[in-house]
């Protein structure tokens, strides 16, 4: 059966060029980077070349690249590591539409006595910048915010947010996991102190990510061991993951314009055709491409169950996500859909296109959606 993978916000396939780059590190280049012999030294050097390459893309020093097991660990380190090192302040600001890596980390800190302020968002998922500035007090340590929301695609105004944080002397952590491949993010120019990324969202391997930090001294480790990553993240390095991530990020940087143009054409074509085929469909998040993650669309359909829709689409070879979440063993609308008040009476599907999707396939994709929606 022909299938359409439309779930690139969940994960992307590994770019064959990245795989090729990684392969030697699964064979001959197997040394432990901490070993002081040729086998270790050669991979230690390659890790640091990867580190420099990533640092250059974000305008930070190489020692600000801390490799982790993925985005979740990077975000945990960003928030908890900053809190541990800066105990004089006890308030953290975040939003209601963060990834669970952020929400569950701040929930834990809340239980430990921190004050967490959750910014509301409007119906398109944007925070109110005036509310943000009013919320900051002398006790505020940091703002942790998702740049591109993984469910509805909303892109926050990071330029203004950076200025507000700098003006008020608070740290800014940006979860850029979904957006890092689509936007040049100079941490220097945007006043970003900490930034989370994860390789498998941009055609790199799973199990590798990084926390980028402008100034390492604001962080305390949350994992202890053999002092790798200069003490900020102990544990033998995932060498093939690291070199693969650096390669994937470089390719994303070099091909950014072509990729974004391709994805925007896909979403525009689908939005137009879907509305014609199913007039009842509602698009969540920003309507304008420039305010939404390229290739990501959140669609709500009235009077259907999102899980049932997902199941039937899966049967027909359309692989997407829903806006449902499992909470306390109950399927509910996700916290993001609740935050934008799209949690009742609709079934929600997230489509996230990738480089392997073609505009020519949209006719077929929309026809399957229409057929499934009418039949369910």
């Amino acid at each position: 059966m022909k299938y359409y993978y439309l779930d690139h916000a969940a994960t992307t396939p590994l770019d064959p060029r990245v795989l090729e780059h990684m392969m030697p590190y699964m064979n001959d280049l197997f040394g432990n980077p901490s070993s002081m012999h040729q086998k270790g030294i050669e991979v230690k050097r390659d890790i640091n070349i990867a580190r420099e390459s990533i640092a250059n893309l974000f305008d930070i020093e190489p020692d600000g690249v801390i490799f982790t097991s993925g985005g979740t660990e990077a975000t945990n380190l960003a928030i908890r590591g900053t809190a541990l090192m800066n105990k004089e302040k006890h308030t953290i600001i975040t939003t209601r539409i963060e990834h669970h890596a952020t929400l569950n980390t701040v929930h834990k800190l809340e239980k430990e006595g921190y004050k967490i302020v959750y910014l509301n968002v409007d119906h398109e998922g944007f925070i109110d910048l005036v509310e943000l500035e009013k919320t900051i007090t002398n006790d505020t340590l940091m703002l942790s915010i998702i740049l591109g929301n993984n469910e509805i695609g909303t892109l926050q105004n990071i330029e203004m947010i950076g200025k507000i944080c700098q003006r008020n002397n608070i740290l800014l952590h940006v979860d850029a996991v979904q957006m890092v491949q689509y936007k040049k993010l100079s941490m220097r120019d945007l006043s970003i102190d900490l930034l989370t990324l994860s390789a498998h969202k941009f055609y790199g391997p799973k199990g590798i990510g990084a926390l980028l930090v402008k100034n390492r001294s604001i962080l305390e480790p949350i994992i202890y061991g053999g002092h790798q990553e200069k003490g900020l993240r102990s544990g033998t390095e995932n060498v093939y993951g690291i070199v693969g991530m650096a390669k994937a990020l470089l390719l994303a940087h070099q091909e950014r314009k072509v990729r974004v143009t391709h994805l925007q054409k896909l979403t525009q074509t689908l939005m137009t055709q879907m509305k014609q085929a199913i007039p009842d469909v509602v698009y969540n998040g920003p309507k304008e491409d420039s305010y939404r993650i390229p290739g990501l669309l959140s669609l709500s359909f009235p009077d259907v169950d999102g899980q049932a829709l997902l199941f039937s689409l899966n049967q027909r070879g359309i692989y997407v996500s829903t806006g449902s979440a499992c909470q306390a063993n109950e399927a509910t609308s996700s916290h993001v859909l609740r935050a934008i008040h799209m949690d009742r009476g609709y079934g929600t599907i997230r489509i996230s296109f990738g480089q392997d999707n073609n505009v020519d396939d949209i006719d077929d994709i929309v026809a399957i959606f229409k057929s499934v929606y009418e039949d369910i």
């Binding site: 009077d303 259907v304 169950d305 899980q307 049932a308 199941f311 049967q315 449902s324 979440a325 499992c326 063993n329 109950e330 399927a331 009418e374 039949d375 369910i376």
Partner: protein, 95 residues
């Protein structure tokens, strides 16, 4: 138009009418199916819902609309349905 189903007992009384996804399903059958599909004996609600939809698709996926069919005539296992004397019942899919 959305599908719903009617199940009649041997005396042609309606014993179930509504969304097929709300059919009563034996708990241990959900666990068995979950093991088969996910290798997980204790699925979360979303994975349970996938399993339930798999059963329902198996039951009504190929059934014609507005045609009453005896469960005996169906060449599928209906053991998973938590309804008494199911083989003496019949089912109709409506829109």
């Amino acid at each position: 138009m959305k599908k719903f189903i009617i199940i009649y007992d041997a005396k042609h009384h309606i014993i179930y009418e509504g969304n097929p996804l709300n059919l009563p399903i034996k708990r241990h059958k959900i666990q068995e199916k979950s093991m088969e599909v996910f290798r997980d004996p204790d699925p979360c609600i979303i994975h349970q819902s996938y399993v339930i939809q798999s059963f329902v698709e198996l039951l009504i996926g190929d059934l014609p609309i507005d045609q009453e069919i005896s469960f005996k005539e169906l060449s599928i296992d209906t053991e998973w349905l938590d309804m008494k004397d199911i083989l003496s019942c019949s089912i109709k899919v409506k829109r």
